[in-house]
Subunit: 380 residues, 2 copies
């Protein structure tokens, strides 16, 4: 049997593999990026219009595209509804952009660390990585091999929680404008802001080169609806919409209907305020529990938004956090090892990512106490 | 800007492009494969369980996978639920299989003509085609370049409507077993059977090589729910499920919930009988109208199932049916030109595909009368 060469680079997502393991009673999971199910809206659909059940437009339903374009204008990214492509979740945007841009040896600039399921897709298509950090975007300007694509999660980054400052946003846009790479901005967490910070899309600072911006309805409405969107500079739109057509014809129409209804509901603003307040409280509970249980074992920054704490374990020797995870799962606690978030996996160890939105308050205390015991033993 | 090489081969689907044009009042469309909206179930969802809104398993919801496995066993294809992968519509299966198998120069055996959106995806990934017909599968056995993948729509094929005989099914399975290619069987129309014919999956006759079988809930429930599934030989499953993970994490959970509920409903059998009877009646109305209006202008076979008539225009010279379509649209009638269904586009002309399920009875008569006038003028 002859499989395509790319399959030799295909890896399962470590997150999804862990989620399979941890989905059992009694497990305290800090592993996934699961939104709290308390935050989900009440959804009722009665006597659904037959139009929502028929084939629909590849680009998405017109009303939802209009809504997205207006919403983005309020955030400083001025696009027409014609530039909006509704996605079957923002993971699909990563797949489409990889198809558009990446083949064997394509140079892709990515933050180190970055969202691991983006690395999974980029690697499948043959990307070679040029790692950067929010502080080193200027290095992308005069590098030897200019990247074709620059991927970033600038707002409450996954996994670090970092939010780019205004200067960092401008510097990244400038680097792409100068080196000619397409900027691909992934922005699923922007609504989950607990402290004041500049969240203007980096794409809104682009002046010359092409760009793609995407976000998701998974974090603020419900992930099971699998709906997100991308917008892009006009030149890229036809190819991306044809790739969407080839990938799954069009997005789920029932989800598009439900999401638009929720976005336009009279209580949508209130609902968002209450979700964000709930997550902020969880972040603070988690931060206090971390201070109590891990203060001498790891360092971290309290994130201004998003769903994760990113910890570096205070060890003189590298800690294999995959092995630590195996021990933790035996004690009914799960987390994400840090290694898979790094474009060059061997570079970094001793990091772990902890999600604070899913576990209950009691579970947070209990789970971090367990981790504390395990990490202490590891560091001794 | 450096795009991937494959983008030079990216084409929009002619069907979706035509659907954009014909979605206007007064247009009689024989173009798409749209199921009749009369056939859609009444769907109400009240107070949705929060589990249906959370992230779910890449492979699909367990109950739905069980249902699919049992249903396939009744059709002669014996698989376990572990071999079922729920898809965001069966177009997604084509994308996943292309990623699994196809890179530049990969030999792919396809029927000529075949489903054009499969050609769209295979070509994007760099396929080279080895065309065959239901009568010539034996030619695949000792060909010079054995195909890596063999794609077939054996039951009420799109566009021809052909249903493989038992002997043809066995011969195709044997050809794949002998030449070592993976058989990819696409079976969206199998429920829409109006005459008696063998519909056992060709995959059920495979004895040695790997195979992938897929079907869809779009034709018998509702396309807007974007749900289908694939099953495959066990060896291929891990890679296909990881590719699904990378493509969109998992399928829409609300759709999975609704589809399972519909499949298990007390009236599911009755509903199916009534849908099939409705389509059969439409086929017969269409067949009679064709006899009346086009008997001396074209040849066709009345299809035993599916949604299409496939006509060859009786012309001594090749008819450019793309140009004919432009004229027809001016007269408010749309159809699918035949050329894009052929793997080597230049090979064949003078074919058109007519969908009989979407237009009303009066529209069928009026639309075919218009086509008759236009085709007569063309043939003169």
């Amino acid at each position: 049997m002859l499989l395509a060469d790319r399959i030799s680079r295909l890896q399962p997502s470590p997150i999804r593999e862990i989620l399979n393991v941890v989905d059992k009673p009694g497990m305290i999971s800090f592993a996934g990026g699961l939104p709290s199910s308390d935050s989900f809206p009440c959804i009722s659909v009665s006597d659904l219009d037959h139009r929502q059940l028929q084939y629909g437009a590849t680009e998405g339903d017109a009303d939802l595209r209009e809504f997205v374009a207006k919403d983005l204008a309020n955030r400083g990214l001025h696009v027409s509804a014609d530039q909006v492509l509704i996605l079957s979740g923002s993971q699909q945007g990563i797949d489409l952009v990889a198809k558009l841009m990446i083949e064997n040896g394509t140079q892709v600039a990515v933050e180190s660390p970055t969202y691991l399921a983006a690395l999974q897709v980029f690697s499948l298509f043959g990307a070679e990585y040029q790692p950067f950090t929010p502080a080193t975007t200027n290095l992308l300007i005069n590098c030897k091999n200019a990247p074709a694509l620059t991927y970033t999660v600038p707002t409450f980054q996954n996994p670090t929680g970092h939010c780019y400052t205004t200067d960092q946003r401008k510097a990244l846009a400038k680097a792409c404008d100068m080196n000619g790479s397409v900027l691909f901005e992934d922005d699923p967490y922007r609504e989950l802001a607990y402290d004041d910070c500049d969240r203007r899309p980096v794409c809104s600072f682009m002046q010359q080169q092409n760009w793609i911006y995407q976000s998701s309805f998974s974090k603020t409405l419900a992930p099971g609806l699998r709906l997100g969107y991308l917008v892009c500079s006009a030149q890229l739109y036809p190819a991306l919409s044809w790739l969407k057509q080839a990938a799954d014809l069009h997005s789920n129409r029932l989800s598009q209907h439900i999401v638009l209804e929720q976005l336009q509901a009279g209580n949508a603003g209130e609902r968002m305020v209450s979700i964000v307040a709930g997550y902020q409280r969880k972040r603070d509970v988690f931060a206090a529990a971390l201070e109590k249980h891990l203060y001498n074992l790891a360092t971290w920054q309290v994130p201004s938004g998003g769903l994760f704490f990113w910890l570096r374990l205070l060890s003189d020797n590298p800690v294999d956090t995959q092995k630590l995870l195996a021990k933790a799962i035996e004690c009914n606690v799960a987390f994400m090892p840090g290694e898979p978030f790094f474009p060059a996996h061997d570079d970094e160890s001793s990091y772990i990512r902890l999600n604070f939105s899913h576990a209950g308050d009691d579970e947070i205390a209990k789970g971090l106490q367990t981790l504390s015991t395990l990490i202490s033993a590891e560091l001794d």
